[in-house]
Amino acid sequence: MRTIGYIIRKEFIQIFRNRSMLPIIFVMPVIQLIILANAATLDLKRIDMVVVDEDMSQSSRSLVSKFNGSPFYKIEAAFLSVKEAEAAMHKGKAGVILHIPQDFERDLLKENKAKIQLMVDAINGMAAGLINAYSSAIIADFNKEVISDLVTIPIPDGLNKSINTIPYYWYNPQLSYKNFMVPGILGVLITMIGMFLACMNLVREKEIGTIEQINVTPIHKFHFIAGKLIPFWILALAELAFGLAVGKLLFNIPFLGNIPLLFGFAALYLLVILGFGLFISTFADTQQQAMFIAWFIAMVFIMMSGLFTSVENMPDWAQILNKINPIAYFMRVIRMIILKGSGIKDIINEVVILSGYFVVIINLAIWRYKKTT
């Protein structure tokens, strides 16, 4: 035990002496939270619309003003031909084109139905879907008014009643994307420290040759590895605490759950991640190689984990793949605990799976480590 304690002390001396590392460890969460939580948002705030009104009637103008009245739409320009409007979209000046054909009002009065055309710039598929949904809602609204204007025969009371839904969004009532992102970014941060720093630290001993001198000492492999991994375990948990404080102070993220439970789960999760770091380190002789392998694995895991997009929306094979993605479990649980206030009973499944994961990865890593040294 004394040896482990001494190696941990040595590692901390080295970490704190490294002038580039320590500031980054504490500046990174602040910068990432500020930039990512603010920039990576899926809220649609402004839709640039151009209008081609070939009808120029009262009805068409009323439809356009309906769009104009919505806080999301900004009518950028009105064109006389669809060609001009398409050119504007091509230049990126319009996100959506509203095309009202010539006989819009006449058709509406005579035949009780009329056609309009919406053209949406769908380079960003997600945004296009939202624009389509918003626009449809506005047109439906317009439709209802038109019916009540045109139909002069009094409608029986029962028929006029429509079902009105007022949604209430649980766990994130304002649909704030920040509340969703901040816990996710914290997950990424501690993963980086656990996987990258620990892995690089192990490989560094090989790269600069210090392992040669260590190997001739009577030190146990287990003591050496534990002594090298524990500092990063502590550091990552400290980073989580720091990041949570920043999230609370800067974004006022609601924290409904139990803090010891979150840290307990993070501690377990970090054991898995450190196991990964150790495993990767056995494949690399230089920090450059280690960085490359770790980056590859972390990139796939993070992108699949549900950091930006919901795991439930992924195809089945991706969801199956996510069963071996430790980051996905952590993303789910950290959001559950912070935003939902989930207790131990709600996350017991994830606890069991990650515990099993830890046993597997650490044995794999130790087996590889023995084989290579």
Partner: protein, 308 residues
């Protein structure tokens, strides 16, 4: 008891044979040197002794222990200084020493006597990061760290490579002192002038030992007469000597060309020969062979053996 007994050790890396059936003994309390050019297999041999590598075949006993199966017990009694500086460059001199003392389960104070002579040179810089020390001081620190647990056997892989002449001399004096304190010292070096400082030396080339003996005996075994030749145009002289029918061996050593000849040297014949080649200002003196001459001779005969 012998400190190291090696019998027919072979080590192979894929196709490359690094050591070919190497056998030797290092006696207890001896200062033993392995001399040989780069790539001769010195580092591989040392790594085998230090239990960092397993031999393909042959038997090896270090301090009576088998480095393959009893490495745990062996590592407590062994001090190893790798050829490459292997201490933590970002830790200070004192922190490095303290670290190695702790993982060997001892303290600096406990064995301070042993390292005092060496450590006192670098103690004024004990708060300096190891990476910022000069080459000679780095070696002294590495030696201190290798000694901190009072090993019975100390193996040093090319400790003086890249160290200035004064520090080299100092370093060898330290090794002599350690030997006096009862530590067996095994050292490798590419510098042949350092061979004379060892009790016994092994000449190693291409994975084979050419000769294991005291430096005196190795020199005495040099049977042929040796001559030193000098001229203004040394390069031309060397070429012409090698082309001379009675020349056995010719090598450039500093200011002289050392040459040996088949049978008795006929000076007039040689001078006449060189005159025809346009070299007139030749100076010939008989010289006492050094260890380098012996090594060159052994190397050449080893190579001819191989080609046969």
């Amino acid at each position: 008891m012998d400190a190291i007994v090696a019998e027919k050790i072979t080590k192979q890396f894929k196709e490359t044979v690094a050591l070919k059936e190497v056998s030797f003994q290092v006696r207890a309390h001896e200062l033993f040197g392995f001399i040989g050019p780069d790539g001769a297999g010195k580092t591989t041999l040392f790594r085998l002794i230090a239990s960092l590598m397993l031999p393909n075949s042959g038997s090896l006993k270090v301090l009576g222990l088998d480095p393959v199966t009893e490495f745990k017990a062996l590592r407590k009694k062994l001090g190893y200084m790798p050829g490459r500086f292997s201490l933590y460059q970002d830790l200070t001199v004192e922190e490095n020493l303290d670290f190695y003392a702790t993982i060997f389960g001892t303290t600096i104070e406990e064995n301070y006597d042993l390292i005092k002579d060496i450590y006192s040179h670098i103690e004024p810089f004990k708060t300096r990061p190891a990476g910022k020390l000069s080459g000679g001081m780095k070696q002294k620190l590495a030696l201190s760290c290798a000694l901190i647990h009072k090993p019975e056997l100390l193996i040093l892989d090319e400790p003086t490579t890249g160290v200035d002449a004064v520090s080299r001399k100092e370093f060898w004096q330290m090794l002599k002192n350690l030997q006096k304190q009862g530590i067996t010292v095994v050292v490798s070096t590419p510098y042949m002038d350092e061979a004379a400082l060892c009790d016994r030396v092994a000449l190693i080339q291409k994975g084979s030992l050419l000769s294991v003996d005291t430096p005196e005996n190795i020199i005495n075994s040099f049977k042929t007469e040796l001559y030193g030749l000098r001229s203004v145009d040394m390069y031309n002289l060397l070429i012409q000597l090698k082309a001379y029918a009675f020349c056995e061996n010719a090598h450039l050593f500093g200011q002289y060309i050392h040459a040996s000849f088949k049978g008795e040297l006929n000076r007039n014949d040689l001078l006449n020969y060189l005159k025809t080649k346009g070299i007139e200002d030749v100076e010939i003196t008989g010289i006492k062979p050094g260890i380098e001459d012996c090594f060159m001779q052994l190397m050449v005969s080893n190579e001819t053996l191989e080609t046969v």
